[in-house]
């Protein structure tokens, strides 16, 4: 029996990809380690190696095909002693459908996904907590951002591209702006956020560093003290723990300690929070850590428009900014206003969905879950208002309290630990300044108070999900 070679998942978040190029043809023999194809993920072009030995019996998905779902059969390999021609025929009908599906110009009468479902169950999708976060992150704001002028054309952009565009635009406008970090230049970014910047700006302004977070965070901070405007990329904020001394002791405090003489206009940016199945040391939300430090600005955007508008604002700011992105969000697409200079104000929350019965406050990837929960709740007659904080420091108390005054009930949803969290802070604000508006205690829905486990089932148990938000909302609504 021929071996079916399937479209591989080449990153934790990859769902589909482009079969860019076949490097073998039908009739070729392959042995393990041979490179059979080049596959483009949303981040990079990867080489796809053979594991099994045999003869290429049939190529099922033509090169140049986009949107090939992970798990789709892309080739048949005849095993040793097996006749390639027989193997190809033997695979028969099922493969025909596959190649039709793979072909971009395919049979339009049959939706591609049904073909996939019937012919080949996709690679078994592990149901993880991160998967739920990732899926929920497809939710869009239900009302337009009042910052966008009416009639503005919108362009569908990934969060990744929006961040890159923000950096590129600011670098074009101001020679003092440069970006440094691990793999930001020649590799085009570990998560491809800095893709193309080296080509446009050269190695004077797009600088690869050794793996040396404490050192380059210090160099960036010193350069900012000297008058430049560095963007320091951390491959993830987990690694910034090695550099936290410079972020806090050097960057955040110097303006104050110098009586306003010495500024430090720097942006520390990179992915933050849980990714998919990467375990405890690579999965942590540092929002509450940095948000507790006077002298820092802390931003954690959800969608692409906010990512762009706020990163531009962060780069322009004269203050040090910690800009917390989310790996699971990078590939998500949203509408971004097509404006010459889309800059958002720092310190302003956004109402993502207006509602009258209860307020759900969240930020970063939690916003997707909050919107999903609001959808479910709407079906049950509860009209939830969803607020995206966007900036964690300074916190937009006014928007939160105004919403509370309207709904009288509030739940905070946070992808992070519950103890000493942003949720804790919001609860304190509601107690101190919104007590008279409360008809129920404020509740927080957060990750479990444990290091993030690796096992798929445990990860799912540990991470926040929409169902838990729904439960908490019903509780504060006494329903």
């Amino acid at each position: 029996m021929a071996i079916e070679i399937k479209m591989p998942a080449l990153s934790p978040t990859m769902e589909e990809g482009t079969l860019a190029k076949w490097l073998v043809k039908e009739g070729d023999t392959v042995k393990s380690g041979d490179i059979m194809a080049e596959i483009e993920t949303d981040k990079a072009t990867m080489e796809f190696e053979a594991v099994d030995e045999g003869t290429v019996a049939k190529i099922l998905v033509a090169e140049g095909t986009d949107n090939v779902k992970v798990g789709t059969a892309i080739m048949l390999l005849a095993g040793e002693g097996e006749d390639a021609a027989t193997a190809a025929v033997g695979a028969g009908d099922a493969t025909k459908e596959d190649s039709a599906q793979g072909n971009a110009a395919a049979d339009e009468t049959k939706p591609a996904d049904t073909v996939e479902d019937s012919a080949h169950p996709a690679q078994e999708k592990v149901d993880t907590g991160a998967r739920q976060l990732f899926d929920a992150a497809s939710h869009k704001a239900e009302v337009a951002d009042p910052e966008v002028p009416a009639g503005t054309e919108m362009v569908r952009t990934t969060v990744r591209e929006a961040l890159r565009d923000a950096m590129a635009e600011e670098m074009r406008a101001d020679d003092r702006v440069f970006v440094m970090g691990e793999e930001v230049a020649q590799y085009q970014g570990a998560y491809k956020v800095t893709q193309g910047l080296l080509d446009e700006f050269g190695d004077r302004r797009v600088i690869d560093t050794p793996i040396t977070e404490y050192g380059f965070a210090g160099i960036g901070t010193g350069a900012a003290m000297g008058g430049l405007k560095p963007i320091v990329e951390f491959m993830t904020f987990n690694f910034a723990m090695q550099a936290i001394d410079h972020i806090i002791n050097s960057a955040a405090k110097t303006n104050y300690m110098s009586g306003g003489q010495m500024r430090c206009p720097i942006v520390f940016r990179g992915p933050n929070g849980a990714a998919s199945r990467v375990g405890a040391q690579h999965s942590q939300n540092y929002g509450p850590w940095y948000a507790s430090v006077p002298g820092l600005i802390v931003i954690a955007p959800y969608d692409a428009a906010d990512a762009k508008g706020l990163l531009k604002a962060a780069i322009r700011s004269e203050d040090p900014v910690v800009f917390l992105e989310n790996e699971l969000m990078y590939g998500r697409s949203f509408d971004v206003p097509k404006l010459d200079d889309w800059v958002l104000p720092i310190g302003k929350a956004r109402i993502m969905r207006p509602g009258k019965d209860v307020t759900i406050v969240s930020y970063s990837i939690g916003v997707g879950l909050a919107l999903e929960a609001a959808e479910t709740l709407a079906g049950e007659g509860i009209d939830a208002e969803v607020i995206d904080l966007r900036t964690l420091r300074p916190l937009d108390k006014e928007t939160v309290l105004k919403s509370l005054a309207k709904t009288n009930r509030l739940v905070v949803a946070e992808e992070g630990w519950p103890t000493c969290s942003i949720a804790s802070e919001i609860m304190a604000i509601c107690m101190e300044e919104g007590f008279d508006d409360l008809d129920a205690p404020v509740l927080r829905v957060a990750n479990e108070d444990v290091p993030l486990p690796y096992a798929a089932n445990l990860e799912k148990l540990a991470l926040i999900d929409a169902a838990r938000i729904v439960t908490a909302v019903k509780k504060v609504c006494y329903k």
């Binding site: 160099i219 350069a223 110098s258 700011s317 310190g347």
Partner: protein, 346 residues
């Protein structure tokens, strides 16, 4: 303490190294100026110690007494228009050597509104961007990577400046120092790493803390050349600075200067310094004092004792005036508590 041995070993054949520094040939005026600056630091620090004892200065206060030749000798070689200086918490001397007004420094030590950081920084956190003096940093070793950042700025903007980053023998064991060394050499940053080896990291002698106690060699695995310098001799300091600047300004990347020096006082005002004998300190004072050394040179050159005496009196007067000012000038307004946290309003 014996004078430090002459600098580096013979150059390794596989790469270029800076030449042997020569003692600086100072004119009488220059020598007098060195003397004046060193004496100002000495008297200022003695006064600061006194004010600390009176409770007028609080917290940590690290005195520079004994190390004066280092800051004065090195900084006299810098171009004040373009070069930058950064150091750790033992920073009073470097500021005075840069000609920053003793009044605003002393007023910072007493926590007054007229202090150089408006009373919000204190002894360890003082800055003067006007003088390109970038602090005054309280975390041991932080100024080394920050200094590399200042050097990065010099190179990026092509302003021709060099950063001089001071740190101690204690900081020389911090990991980030080597991260900074690596990138500074990799990117050929214009920086002089100055290790002020005063023999003790708080109470731990170099030998007890450093597997390689010849600290000028600490850059070898990064291909950064190092020079050991007699930090008690202001002319040797200045000479070494000339050699280092020539190397760095030629675009050859960083260089390390290990300044063998000695602090007479404890690590900070609250350090009883039980880790060394009174005799050890006295021996250095008697044999190697950097100010006495210059004084002798001046006398040899025929500078009259009267002239030196009146100069000393003028400095004493200047320091007393700074102390009086620092005592009398008001504390910051309560509203100052909330200013300068952020630059912008959001």
């Amino acid at each position: 303490m014996a004078r430090a041995p002459r600098a580096s070993e013979p150059p390794l054949p596989n790469r270029e190294r800076p030449g042997e520094p020569q003692p600086y040939e100072a004119t009488n005026d220059e020598l007098l100026q060195f003397y004046k600056e060193m004496l100002l630091i000495r008297r200022f620090e003695e006064k600061a110690g006194q004010l600390y004892g009176l409770g007028l200065i609080g917290g940590f206060c690290h005195l520079y007494i004994g190390q004066e030749a280092v800051a004065v000798g090195l900084q006299s070689a810098l171009d004040g228009e373009k070069d930058s200086v950064i150091t750790g918490y033992r920073d009073h001397g470097h500021m005075l050597a840069y000609g920053i007004d003793p009044q605003v420094i002393m007023a910072e030590l007493t926590g007054r509104a007229a202090g150089i950081s408006r009373g919000k920084g204190g002894s360890m956190h003082m800055f003067s961007t006007e003088h390109k003096f970038y602090g005054g940093h309280g975390i041991v070793g932080a100024q080394v990577s920050l200094g590399a950042g200042l050097a990065f700025k010099h190179k990026y903007s092509g302003d021709g400046g060099v950063c001089m980053a001071y740190f101690g023998d204690g900081a020389a064991n911090q990991g980030q120092v080597y991260e900074a060394f690596n990138m500074a050499e990799l990117w050929k940053l214009p920086i002089i790493f100055v290790i002020e080896n005063n023999q003790y990291a708080m109470g731990t002698s170099v030998n007890r803390a450093s597997s390689e106690d010849q600290l000028y060699r600490r850059g070898e695995s990064f291909r950064i050349p190092g020079i050991q310098v007699d930090g008690m001799d202001v002319l040797a300091c200045r000479g070494a600075a000339e050699t280092a600047l020539e190397w760095v300004r030629a675009g050859k990347g960083p260089v390390i200067l290990e300044m063998k020096t000695y602090r007479y006082r404890g690590h900070s005002m609250s350090d009883p310094a039980k880790y060394r004998s009174r005799e050890e300190v006295q021996a250095v004072r008697d044999k190697s004092d950097p100010i006495e050394h210059v004084k002798r040179l001046l006398e040899e050159r025929g500078v009259k004792e009267d002239e030196l005496k009146s100069l000393e009196q003028a400095i004493r007067k200047q320091v007393n005036a700074a102390a009086d000012f620092a005592e009398q000038t008001p504390e910051p307004e309560p509203a100052e508590l909330y200013t300068d946290v952020l630059v912008e309003r959001y």
